[in-house]
């Protein structure tokens, strides 16, 4: 593609159209650009277009975005094994782009600059430094010659994104070679600009327009410092530590009323710089404390006084948390003595910890306006960077070395807070909130049984006096925040609360399920759910019979809660429903629950938006099916009548997200039926074989299971409907890919088990051909194992001669070749108790026909493998191997398959009558010895000596003699 007036015109109008409000011209333009992007020279043309000042600003911006995406998808190094989905940019064009981009980036307006900077950073991920040796020098030269801070900050921004990879990659020679290269080239100029800008800042304390970009420059320099120092302390930084630390100190104590942010939600540039410095000194404290210790005292003082002056405004959250983190690191280190004075501990606790833990107006707002986010921060651990959490981390840090002192201090604070509340509950509720927050946060974070205790208070006593009271209040809507705190406290210490007391409080918990506050009813559901999952040893603490007295109000309130505003898709409530349904004796309420759930299902089908809610919803349905239908098959009809119309709707409307669930539950329903299947199921069958359904990866496991259910319950009908070829078509598609081949075998195994050989025989030759060609061209260890298992199942179900004959029908004597090259050598890699039995029995059954034919030489190897399989422990037989999944098949968006726990299948042994495969083998060998004496001894002599011993042992155990 050439850069001509013509192309400029065409492309310009195209870019304009991509911004069009109407769909049709937009699509058209996008398609045109997609096509054009395949042509060589497209990238460079766009680059020129976007940098052409005569072109319309809007067009240039659109072109910049397009260029960045072009680079994103096409700046790849071609790999012959995995051809990329889009034509990659060719090397000569890449070189051209590399030559232009830095200059262009630095000379374009900010909006375009940011796109180009991003593009550059993508390019550097692939090529820098080894394939782009000019980049770093070019950046350095521009940095050293630039005086305009827009340009300087542009360069630093870009460099920052290039160097970020040093922050998360593992140490390796390659990484260190690159790091060294960057250090050699960039460390000195970085310090230079940092010092120079320091002078600019000092000289311009009145001049805001100079000051702001200069401070931004320092912030970026600090971020680069962080990346370059991340892996280990580089020599060049160690040599210049005094200069860096001196500057850091200057900014930590820098104040200038001019640069305070007027917008109270936005953090000021100086605060951001200070936060970046805190991160740097925190890094040094964590990893290089010895070299850093000379500066520690000064910085501890700086950060300390910084925290004393930081406000509680959200705009200073980031600064406050990074600063507290630094103190936390110091408190845990060998230099903890800095904080050893009782007065220091007290001052930290009172001036830093408590104020930061106190609930703020912003948190209250969140509690009311965005309950999900509040819960996520409050109980799900996504509060990593909130002030409350970080302040508590500081307490934990101080406790590492001063446990007793800290515990004593905080016990007193807690008492005071509680007393203040007690004296004036209406005004001082925040104090109680603070106390409850501290107790929960300072108990080690728990998951399983909940926290087992805390040194701060006596849990049982505290619960009795301060929590029970809160929970027993008549009005579930009064003082919602404290109610939520009490419920969280209960949930946290649930294992410590006596069962009797818990059951006594159950009506209260159930009452809170319909509290107006979304947080409160969510916490009530969470609490009940966690209580029901609680175990003592292996026993659930709360059983179905404990639940029975409460079941009706519990279910009623749970379903009522789902009708409260903003809680229609509340995942905590649905999860609680699932838990109740899988534990309780739902008997009389089953149909009521089914009706409720079906109603919800119909609603969410219209617009599935909340994946976890939906997952628990289907989980709840599956639990109900399991409870009701598997106990009483007559119930199935009731369920079908309710569910199948909804399911049909899901499939007809193509509600992609739900299809995998629907297939699993349908399979579950079919499995709990006795044959024959009613006609409506049979009518459902042909659409299931539509290829489009199978193209979606997420559908496959559920569909396979459903197909298996049909094959088990209605093999006749499928055969009569002439649908077997289509089923085998599905098998063929699945077997072709490494990712789904085992699913293909699921189907094939079910077919072999449930369909008579007469029906099957016309297809056998084709099936073997498919399997063997896959074996020949794209074999994997897993595939071979599956193949052996399938063949073994075939032997066991239809007899060895059918297997031998059908394989040989593909090509004469093929069976022996497969036996010798695939079956025998890999037999001993089979794992799993049932699989080992199956394969050993099948292999044993092969001896008679093999010896009768003239295939004696093949028997030695086979016998050896069977004995190895039966005698040696798994660890000694198997080398770990890793099959690489087919990456090319996983491109593109796919819904995720989620297995429903309540709908898992039980497995059945295909060889129930064989108890011990060793005995089976011995009996077979005994039989051969009787019928064809003289053949076995020579074979036995060829076995590995350990296997000879093992065989002799088997013979004596089962009283068989080999002759």
């Amino acid at each position: 593609m050439q850069y001509t007036e013509e192309t400029v015109k065409t492309l310009s109008s195209c870019f304009l159209q991509t911004l069009a409000p109407t769909l049709e011209p937009r699509k058209q333009a996008e398609n045109f650009l997609k096509g054009a992007a395949d042509q060589p020279g497209y990238g460079i043309t766009i680059l020129r277009l976007l940098s052409d000042p005569s072109v319309d600003e809007e067009v240039r911006q659109a072109a910049a975005v397009n260029f960045k995406n072009h680079v994103k998808y096409r700046w790849v190094t071609p790999d012959p094994d995995f051809p990329p989905p889009l034509n990659p940019i060719q090397d000569p064009e890449k070189d051209q782009i590399k030559g232009l981009i830095v200059t262009l980036m630095l000379s374009t307006p900010p909006k375009i600059q940011s796109q180009l900077s991003e593009a550059l950073s993508i390019m550097s991920q692939h090529d820098f430094p080894s394939k782009w040796q000019t980049l770093l020098p070019e950046l350095v030269v521009s940095l050293q010659s630039a005086t305009d801070y827009t340009i300087i900050n542009g360069i630093l921004q870009t460099s920052n994104s290039i160097f970020k990879r040093f922050r998360y990659q593992y140490k390796s020679n390659e990484l260190f070679t690159d790091l060294k290269y960057c250090l050699d080239g960039f460390a000195a100029p970085l310090l230079e600009i940092f010092l120079k800008t320091g002078q600019v800042i000092a000289a311009n304390s009145e001049n805001l327009s100079v000051l702001k970009p200069a401070l931004e420059c320092q912030r970026l320099s600090c971020r680069i410092f962080y990346s370059l120092n991340f892996q280990e302390l580089p020599e060049v930084f160690e040599n210049h530590m005094a200069e860096w630390m001196g500057e850091f100190h200057k900014y930590l104590v820098y104040t200038n009323p001019l640069i305070q942010e007027t917008n109270r939600e936005k953090s000021s540039i100086i605060d951001e710089l200070k936060a970046a410095i805190c991160e740097n000194i925190n890094l040094y404290m964590e990893k290089n404390e010895e070299e850093f210790q000379g500066y520690l005292g000064q910085f501890a003082t700086d950060v300390w006084s910084l925290l004393m002056s930081v406000s509680l405004s959200t705009s200073q959250d980031w600064l406050a948390t990074t600063a507290i983190k630094f103190l936390t690191t110091v408190s845990k280190s060998v230099h903890h003595k800095l904080f050893s004075e009782p007065s220091t501990l007290q001052q930290i606790s009172e001036s830093i910890v408590i104020p930061n833990v106190m609930i703020r107006d912003e948190d209250e707002e969140l509690f009311e306006m965005n309950y999900l986010e509040y819960i996520r921060r409050d109980v799900e651990g996504s509060d990593m960077d909130t002030r409350r959490r970080i302040a508590c981390e500081l307490v934990k840090g101080l406790s590492t070395h001063y446990h007793e002192q800290v515990t004593a201090l905080f016990s007193v604070y807690l008492q005071n807070l509680i007393q203040e509340y007690a004296a004036n509950p209406a005004q001082k509720w925040k104090e109680k909130d603070c106390a409850l927050y501290l107790i929960v946060a300072l108990a080690p974070r728990q998951a399983s049984v909940g926290a087992t205790g805390t040194d701060l208070v006596n849990i049982e006593q505290f619960f009795d006096t301060h929590i029970v009271l809160e929970l027993q209040v008549q009005d579930v809507n009064s003082n919602a925040l404290l109610k939520a705190d009490a419920l969280k406290f209960f949930t946290t210490f649930r294992s410590q609360i006596r069962k009797q007391l818990t059951l006594k409080l159950m009506p209260q918990l159930i009452g809170f399920l319909v509290a107006e506050s979304n947080v409160v009813h969510s916490y009530a559901a969470l609490c009940i759910e966690k209580l029901l999952a609680l175990k003592d040893g292996k026993q659930l603490r709360y059983t179905a019979s404990d639940l029975t007295p409460f079941l009706q109000p519990l279910l009623t309130n749970l379903f009522t809660a789902l009708k409260l505003p903003e809680s229609q898709e509340n995942p905590y409530i649905m999860r609680c429903i699932m838990r109740v349904l899988s534990i309780a004796d739902v008997g009389p309420f089953a149909s009521q629950c089914l009706a409720e759930l079906t109603g919800i299902l119909v609603e969410v089908c219209k617009n599935p938006s909340n994946p976890s809610f939906n997952h628990y919803l289907f989980e709840a349905v599956a639990a109900l099916v399991k409870k009701a239908c598997q106990r009483d098959p007559e119930q199935v009809v009731v369920f079908e009548n309710m569910l199948l119309p909804v399911f049909q709707n899901v499939l007809e409307q193509d509600v992609t997200e739900f299809a995998p669930y629907v297939f699993q539950i349908m399979a579950q329903l079919i499995e709990s039926r006795r044959p024959p299947l009613p006609q409506n199921y049979i009518a459902f069958f042909p659409p299931l074989l539509t290829p489009i359904l199978w193209q979606r990866q997420a559908n496959v496991p559920g569909l396979v299971r459903l197909l298996q259910a049909y094959l088990q319950k209605a093999p006749q009908e499928i055969n009569q409907g002439n649908q077997l070829p289509q089923v085998l078509g599905v098998f063929e598609k699945l077997i072709a890919s490494k990712n789904t081949d085992y699913q293909g075998f699921f189907i094939l195994n079910t077919v072999i088990e449930n369909v008579s050989f007469e029906v099957l025989s016309p297809y056998m030759s084709q099936i073997w051909t498919i399997l063997f060609s896959r074996l020949q061209y794209r074999s994997t260890g897993k595939f071979i194992k599956s193949l052996i298992i399938f063949a073994s199942l075939f032997v066991v179900k239809h007899g060895p001669s059918k297997v031998i004959d059908t394989i040989n029908s593909v090509q004469p004597n093929l069976f022996l070749s497969i036996l010798d090259n695939v079956w025998s050598p890999n037999l001993s890699t089979i794992t799993g108790e049932m699989e080992i039995k199956l394969c050993a029995v099948a292999a044993s059954m092969l001896f008679t026909p093999l010896l009768e034919g003239s295939a004696t030489p093949y028997c030695g190897k086979l016998l050896n493998s069977v004995i190895t399989l039966l005698v040696k422990p798994e660890d000694e037989r198997i080398d770990e191997e890793q099959d690489v999944p087919d990456l090319d098949e996983m491109v593109g968006y796919t819904a995720v398959y989620a297995q429903l726990h309540n709908s898992t299948k039980t497995e059945d042994d295909p060889l129930k009558d064989v108890k011990d495969p060793k005995e089976f083998l011995a009996k077979i060998l005994g039989g051969v010895s009787l019928q064809q004496p003289g053949k076995l001894p020579s074979i036995v002599q060829g076995l590995e000596s350990s296997n000879q011993t093992a065989l002799a042992q088997l013979c004596s155990t089962f009283r068989i003699s080999i002759v």
Binding site: Y170, N173, P444, A533, F790, T906
Partner: protein, 544 residues
């Protein structure tokens, strides 16, 4: 069913704690940090006043740093000296030598000689001329000394010396006087200390062979300087030079005999040669062991108190035990003659107050602990555990990390004898009871990705290994969950996946409910995990 599938289940962390340590040997090749060798600055050595003219020492006191005027004067004199040398180049030999001596005095009277002004004044070409064939010994010596100190400067200054290299190497020949050879070797050593580019140049010009001849010199200072220069030359990261050196006939015996003689100053230098050789060539480790390196080497370790000696000896030992287990066996058996065995000696190093020794010793221990089951038992019972636990709790970061490798390796069964699914339970329980868990959890929280991974791997062992489900409980009690949670959104994919997997497996919502739902639970964890189950069983499609 569960048991069978459990045994087959491929665990991502099971043996990786051990494997990582084994692979680390060569990863040390590229460094960005300062090499911490404390008492000796190894890479570059300035030659200050000559021992023979002691008288000068007093009169030529180094200029006080910060005294700018004095330094200015020094620079000025240096420039003058260069010009003077230039003028006298064609003059009488005696005057030339006099000029050279003046210059040499100026270049060696302070720790920061005014090398840059000398170079700018064109000193190198003059010195190259002075190195010409047939020059007097004294002239060669003085010129080489000047070059030595010029090459002790920064990269640019070293580069300036490049034109002199062929002649410096030439004067390493047998016919040269000993003090000339030594000074040339010194200069070359300084050049070689400045990176692989210069080392390559020197190798191409044949410096290696010329230097190696002088290892056997009867003059102690010469053999020492030659060994030091060689150690700089073979640093790598490419192993080419080290291999080249070891191919020289008799080299193995020469090195071993130097260590045996036990002359400490020489052993220090030879041990550094051994450090690089043993880090790059397995074959030569074997040859060195066969030649009897170990008894004298371990002897040094037990008898010396000198940090500069212990450092390279420990590192060499660490390299040897990073090889296959049979070499470790040899080390252990030779070490039996030492008080407390080799492990006891290492334990004392771990107890030393020097960070370098702690780190080197921990590294050696981590490699032994990555060996066979027997070796792990020996380490475990040899007295290193208490100091390691102490270091893990209190030491500086990099020592803590090394200690963690040791402790982790002690708990992972070698691949060939998978007792208890890869865990040596006895060790694990003892270490956890010894209070190691907070130390590992601190590593999980560390910003260092490698340390975080190590911490995660250990937590995994604890949670999987401790009987009666005690593992998750104790991790929970030590506040390990919040440490794991901090990694859930880490930019490093592996850390993110590992922490998510651990949280899901041990603290996820299914926690404690497995029995209720059966093994099907695992299927949820994604296709990677499920692929580990034998194929057809998953579908359960065999029901008749």
């Amino acid at each position: 069913m569960e048991g069978a599938s459990g045994a087959h289940h491929r665990d991502p962390f099971k043996s990786s704690v051990g494997r990582v340590a084994g692979q680390r040997r060569r990863q040390q090749a590229v460094t960005v940090g300062k090499e911490r060798r404390e008492s000796v600055v190894r890479a570059k050595r300035l030659r200050r006043a000559d021992p023979s003219d002691h008288g000068d020492d007093g009169s030529m006191q180094p200029a006080v740093m910060g005294d700018e005027a004095a330094y200015k004067a020094l620079e000025e004199s240096t420039v003058n000296a260069v010009h003077n040398l230039k003028n006298l180049l064609k003059g009488s030999p005696a005057k030339r030598i006099g000029a050279l001596q003046t210059l040499r005095h100026l270049l060696s009277c302070t720790a920061m000689p005014p090398v840059h002004v000398a170079i700018e004044a064109g000193v190198v070409t003059l010195l190259v001329d002075c190195l010409a064939f047939g020059s007097s010994e004294e002239q060669l010596f003085e010129a080489a000394w000047c070059l030595t100190n010029i090459a002790s400067g920064d990269l640019q200054q070293t580069r300036a010396v490049e034109p002199a290299l062929p002649l410096l190497i030439l004067h390493l020949g047998e016919k040269s006087a000993v003090h000339v050879v030594e000074q040339c070797a010194w200069a070359i050593g300084n050049v070689a200390g400045d990176g692989e580019v210069f080392r390559d140049v020197l190798l191409k010009q044949g410096a290696l062979h010329s230097l190696s001849r002088h290892l056997l010199s009867p003059v102690p200072s010469l053999s020492r300087t030659a060994a030091w220069a060689l150690s700089n030359l073979i640093k790598g990261p490419s192993p080419k030079a080290a291999m080249e050196l070891m191919k020289i006939e008799g080299m193995v015996d020469t090195l071993v005999s130097h260590v045996s003689k036990g002359e400490e100053d020489l052993v220090v230098e030879v041990a550094w040669v051994l450090v690089y050789v043993t880090s790059m060539s397995d074959l030569h480790v074997t040859l060195l062991l066969n030649a009897g390196l170990l008894p004298p080497l371990l002897g040094c370790l037990a008898s010396s108190e000198q940090l500069s000696l212990l450092t390279p000896v420990l590192r060499t030992l660490g390299n040897i035990v990073a090889g296959d287990n049979s070499k470790t066996d040899v080390v252990l058996s030779v070490g039996q003659s030492l008080p407390g065995g080799i492990i006891g000696v290492l334990a004392r190093c771990l107890e030393s107050k020097h960070r370098t020794l702690q780190k080197e010793a921990a590294w050696a221990v981590s490699n032994i602990a990555a060996g066979s089951i027997l070796q792990k038992h020996t380490v475990f019972n040899g007295g290193v555990v208490p100091p390691l636990l102490h270091l893990l709790a209190t030491a500086v970061f990099d020592v803590r990390k090394e200690s963690a490798y040791c402790l982790g390796n002690l708990c992972v069964a070698p691949k060939e004898s998978r007792e208890q699914g890869g865990i040596i339970l006895e060790h694990l329980i003892a270490l956890v009871d010894g209070g190691c868990l907070p130390g590992f959890i601190a590593l999980v929280r560390s910003p260092d990705v490698e340390a975080a991974r190590l911490g995660l791997q250990f937590l995994e062992l604890v949670m999987r290994g401790l009987p009666n489900g005690r593992g998750p409980k104790i991790v929970e009690k030590e506040d390990g969950i919040s440490a794991l949670e901090e990694l859930q959104f880490h930019e490093n994919d592996e850390l993110q996946t590992m922490s998510n997997t651990l949280i899901d497996r041990y603290f996820g919502e299914e926690y404690g409910l497995e029995e209720e739902y059966g093994p099907g639970m695992d299927v949820l964890r994604g296709s990677d995990d499920s692929s580990d189950y034998p194929p057809w069983r998953q579908g359960g499609g065999l029901t008749a």
